[in-house]
């Protein structure tokens, strides 16, 4: 279970998270939506301890990770897999080495077993046979899928996705949506998907949390949120630009 309690974070006196609280049950899949720059990536990074809040707590299976130092966090992070907005592949390594990274470092599996699991993970993300390529040779969508393979190969219990479909063409986004649903159901993981793509949120999320101006603006079943009468939620869901508010 993941619980955020009254998280506050600012950069250069500019508040980004201003008291964010929510809970995510084990096995649940939650979509976090909100406008660009509203702090979705910042929130996600707090959940794995990549960023520390000024106040508040992040509880992973009941354990507060905020006061932990980097070395204590390593143990907690073995539960997590994270797919970055920019894919963040290691560009000095091949695709296969990227995917094998966590297995090589944190498990005692044989090289043959690692190779088998890497090939399987690349199959799952529909990139069989790309193992020897370097990340620079891949398209944006392929890089994101390698990022996904790297995150699922060691079968983490919690998966965090940062805008997995943003900037991809509709067909690739669709395949990534399906992939996330499959991973969610087959591996029974807890997933947190940050997105501003309504379709992804609707398909992958059991629940939708909307961030607005550093606070949780809405939190509920996808249908409830998308049919909400709250003007701020409506505006975002319908995608209407507001002349009064600078973006």
């Amino acid at each position: 279970m993941i619980e955020a309690r009254d998280l506050k974070k600012s950069f250069d006196a500019q508040p980004v998270l201003d008291g964010v609280s929510f809970e995510i049950e084990t096995g649940e899949s939650v979509a976090i939506i909100g406008r660009s720059g509203c702090g979705k990536s910042v929130l996600l990074k707090h959940l794995v301890g990549l960023l520390k809040p000024e106040s508040g707590a992040v509880l992973i299976d009941g354990e507060n990770i905020v006061p932990m130092n980097e070395r204590q966090l390593l143990r907690v992070r073995q539960k997590f897999g994270m797919v970055f907005q920019s894919a963040a592949l290691f560009d000095s390594m091949t695709v296969a080495e990227n995917v094998a990274f966590a297995l090589r470092r944190n498990s005692r599996l044989s090289e043959a077993e690692i190779a088998r699991r890497v090939a399987h993970a690349l199959d799952v993300v529909n990139l069989p046979g790309t193992g020897d390529k370097s990340p620079a040779e891949l398209s944006g969508g392929m890089r994101k899928r390698v990022g996904l393979a790297r995150a699922i190969v060691y079968e983490p219990r919690i998966l965090l996705y940062d805008e997995p479909t943003t900037g991809l063409d509709p067909i690739v986004s669709d395949s990534i949506d399906q992939l996330m649903v499959r991973v969610r159901d087959e591996l029974n993981v807890t997933s947190v998907v940050v997105t501003h793509d309504m379709r992804t949120a609707r398909r992958v999320g059991h629940r939708v949390v909307m961030l607005h101006q550093g606070k949780v603006q809405a939190n509920g079943m996808p249908d409830r949120v998308f049919d909400s009468t709250d003007p701020i939620v409506r505006q975002f869901v319908d995608g209407v630009a507001d002349a009064r508010e600078p973006s």
Binding site: K45, R71, R75, S86, A88, F90, D91, A102, R105, A151
Partner: protein
Amino acid sequence: MTSSAKERVVNMLAGLGEFAFLARDTAASLLRLKVTWRDFLFQFYSIGVESQAVVLITGAFTGMVLGAQTYFQFHKVHMDTATLAVVAVSMCDELGPVLTALMVAGRVGAAIAAEIGTMRVTEQIDALRTLATHPVDYLVVPRVGAAILTMPLLTMEAICVGIGASYLVSTRLLGIDPAYLWYNALHFAGDADIVIGVTKAVFYGGIISLISCYKGMTCGQGAEGVGRATTQAVVYSAITVLIVNFFLTLTLGKLLGLL
């Protein structure tokens, strides 16, 4: 104090504090041998090999110019045969370690800061962390460990090449008698000079690699941040080496003098 000056002092102290933490984490991780041999050997190879050209050229030309200049001065007082002794002592104690360190700061320090800085701005370091890998274990320790071991070797190489080149210039170009030249060199330069050179090199390897890793790990946003981190890594390493060199010369001179 004006508020901006105050801010700068605070930032500088905060930076020093962070640097101290990095040094502590690195030392702890080095001592626990939390390093994979493959990464370590790769760094050892790349630091050593990348530096060959600069180290050889620096060593040779410094030795030669030092030999020639010493000869010009000593010739006036008929001490030609002491030329190589002066070259050997200066190369071992000061010029070998310092010039090698400055060249390695430019070559290896810049490469380390640019590589780690790029990893930081492209979120590769965050990716490492989510893959349950400590960035200090994976990125800093192999580089610092390799630099501490490579620097003495590179420094000895520069010293030997420098003395050898100076010997050739002295005997072939300046016509000094080789037998007396060697005799004096061996008489005045001793084990203590080699100990001083190697000790300094170990320090400078640590200084350059730690400062460069620190600059990379704390690099600012975007290409501009990486550029700035790279420049600062070289400048700070070079200045720190020059300042520390003075204190090491005093300390080591006193220590070895007493022993």
